[in-house]
């Protein structure tokens, strides 16, 4: 009996081993392409989802006007895979707004005519439900959280004597005024909870740090020294802010608490140290310093220790912004190239490797990562705020007005 068992085991494992060692040809792709998805129907929620996916720069949204009637009038719970294949689709998303809810279904054409994802959102306003649907689609495709439903804040641009802090949905909808300071207000910064925005304002002549509710409301003055010279950067736990103060005529970076109480001086250098930006784990701060001549990006510990130069290319590097993901040690920044154009770059915080994101498209400044770091929003001399997918180089303009210092808000789970 034992012998027979051994023989069977040897045969089984022997066969499995032979199969595992079978010669296999490894195939690599010759390139990458956008993922083709059809989102039929004139339902407003469907159009919001289509726009959301388009803005990611990962999708080619098939033009619904090119769909034959057979596809446009399909029932929402199934698809004709052959017909969709003929119009070049790889997936189909169907979104329908009902009287009290919104349905969201995803079909992968290669997997047949049944939905691979089916969701229903009740009690949500149409745009909110559509963003949730887009988030679920991205989660299905990539396993990552989407950024749909997040907001971008910015300061009004131009040369007006009154420039308020504004905010809008990331896709440019719902633009609204956050502050009513009736003064020049600059450099907004989201709190990690996305409930508050810190900013600089010249209400009393000099620059002070203020904090306002993100939804609008009465702003609170945080510093009274009138020597703040750059916007604040919230620590990831929301308890502290790193801010540049000009004390005794020299700009250095300090830590203050939410009430403006001075906690610690982080840099003590005769040069200008400014533009602090926290790493997502709160252990490091990136900043700009001209201590060796030109403005370059530096890194230091959150207590100010171990400052080291990070960028060695370019002669005018500024506005460092960390990718908010802990697994991606990337800092986006603005740099002026040898042709005197301002463009966007990223630098790996570990290796120091610099990658260029924009080129030959006017001046592009002030990058800010989406919460999942897949795209970057920035201000452009082409006008307003743009969103760029650095991977596919697809970019879209989401706001046309004059702006300064856009900042992408954190994703807050509902």
């Amino acid at each position: 009996m034992k012998t027979r068992l051994t023989v069977v085991l040897v045969l089984v494992f022997g066969a499995a081993r032979a199969r595992a060692q079978e010669p296999t040809i490894r195939i690599n792709p010759s390139g990458a392409e956008l993922y083709r998805i059809g989102i039929p129907g004139a339902d407003p929620a469907a159009r919001v989802v289509a726009n959301d996916l388009d803005l990611t720069g990962f999708f080619k949204i098939l033009d619904p006007r090119a769909f034959p009637a057979a596809l446009s009038n399909e029932p929402t719970d199934t698809i004709n895979a052959t017909n969709w294949m003929q119009v070049g689709g790889q997936s189909v998303a169907k979104v329908r707004t009902g009287s009290s809810d919104t349905e969201c279904r995803l079909f992968e054409i290669a997997k047949g005519e049944r939905p691979v994802l089916s969701k229903r959102y009740s009690g949500l306003e149409m745009r909110v439900a559509a963003h949730e649907c887009a988030n679920d689609l991205i989660k299905y495709f990539t396993g990552e959280d989407g950024f749909f439903g997040t907001q971008i804040t910015f300061a009004q641009g131009g040369r007006g004597r009154v420039r308020e802090i504004m905010a809008m949905d990331f896709d440019g909808a719902n633009v609204h005024q956050v502050t009513r300071m009736n003064a020049v207000s600059l450099l907004p910064s989201w709190s990690p909870s996305a409930r508050e925005i810190a900013f600089l304002s010249f209400v009393f002549g000099g620059a002070d740090l203020w904090i306002a509710p993100a939804g609008g409301g009465r702003a609170r003055r945080v510093t009274r020294s009138q020597d703040a010279i750059s916007g604040a950067a919230w620590s990831p736990d929301g308890s502290r802010l790193a801010v540049t103060l000009s004390r005794g005529g020299n700009a250095d970076i300090y830590l203050v608490n939410r009430e403006g109480g001075l906690l610690r001086r982080l840099t003590d250098n005769g040069a200008i140290d400014t533009s602090p930006a926290w790493s997502p784990d709160g252990s490091q701060i990136a900043f700009v310093s001209n201590r060796l001549g030109n403005p370059q990006i530096y890194l230091m510990g959150a207590d100010g220790s171990g400052a080291r130069r990070l960028t060695y290319q370019g002669t005018y590097n500024q506005t460092p912004r960390w990718c908010p993901r802990r697994d991606t040690p990337l800092i986006a920044f603005t740099a002026r190239d040898e042709k005197l154009h301002f463009d966007l770059f990223t630098v790996d915080a570990r290796s120091g490797q610099i990658v260029r994101l924009t080129q030959n498209q006017g001046d592009n400044e002030d990058p800010t990562f989406s919460p999942n770091c897949r795209v970057v929003a920035f201000k452009s001399s082409r006008g307003g705020i743009w969103i760029l997918n650095p991977n596919t180089r697809v970019e879209h303009q989401v706001y046309k007005g004059a702006v300064e210092a856009p900042r992408w808000g954190p994703a807050v789970r509902r």
């Binding site: 296999t24 195939i27 792709p29 010759s30």
Partner: protein, 230 residues
């Protein structure tokens, strides 16, 4: 005893001359500088790109851009209105007179050229890189390379699923002529867009190079294992 045999003397002289010659040849060959010995080695195919001058290290990087497409000039060149400045009209030369023998010579030359062309065509592997030479070839499984080439050229992975670490295994069944009888994913990566792109390329490829003799039956019965990796 005193008399010497002239034959013996002659033989001795010849023997000495031959030995001397042999010794001289050996000495001469040792005196010549030795030629370098060519060791067999594997040649690697280099990919050379034209980047112009190397970019100084202190400058910011640039995004490589393809060279601009050549375009026609906006305005065609204007011919002068001055009649005198215009080139003289071309007069067509009459065709040379032909003799019956010329045709025979031309035919013989054409045949010779055809023969040379046929010899040139035989050189190298018919499925090889037309820009390559025997020096640039590398050792490997030619059939596997041909299969790789077919799928490589047609497979594009979605940016959406460009994350590293994905892998999908497939099995392709082909007959002796190389026609794809059946192709299926046997182990998907789990990422929808990635697997869709693999299914798409499997459905698209209908014809592969005919399998080498001896393997046709096996590929038709058990299939060929492919792994799609980014």
């Amino acid at each position: 005893m005193a008399s010497r045999d002239p034959l013996k003397v002659g033989g001795l002289v010849v023997t000495l001359a031959l030995h001397g010659g042999a010794v001289g040849l050996i000495l001469y060959s040792h005196m010549r500088p030795s030629e370098p010995v060519l060791m067999p080695r594997e040649f690697m195919v280099a990919k050379i790109v034209r980047l112009g001058r190397k970019r100084p290290k202190n400058l910011l990087p640039t995004i490589p851009m393809p060279p601009p497409e050549p375009t026609a000039p906006k305005e065609a060149v204007k011919l002068t209105e001055n009649e005198a400045a215009k080139p003289a009209p071309k007069t067509e030369k009459p065709p040379p007179e032909t003799k019956p023998g010329d045709f025979k010579q031309a035919l013989a030359r054409a045949r010779q050229l055809e023969k040379l062309q046929a010899q040139a065509d035989q050189e190298g592997d018919p499925s090889g890189d037309p820009s390559g030479t025997s020096d640039t070839a590398s050792a490997g499984d030619l059939y596997a390379t041909a299969i790789f080439k077919v799928y490589f050229e047609q497979w594009k992975v979605p940016h959406l699923a460009s994350a590293q670490g994905l892998s999908a295994r497939a099995r392709v069944f082909i007959n002796a002529q190389g026609n794809v009888l059946r192709a299926q994913v046997v182990k998907p990566s789990g990422n929808g867009p990635y697997d869709d792109s693999v299914v798409e390329v499997l459905n698209r490829v209908k014809k592969l190079p005919p399998p080498p003799p001896g393997l046709a039956q096996r590929f038709e019965r058990s299939g060929l294992s492919l792994e799609f990796v980014p």
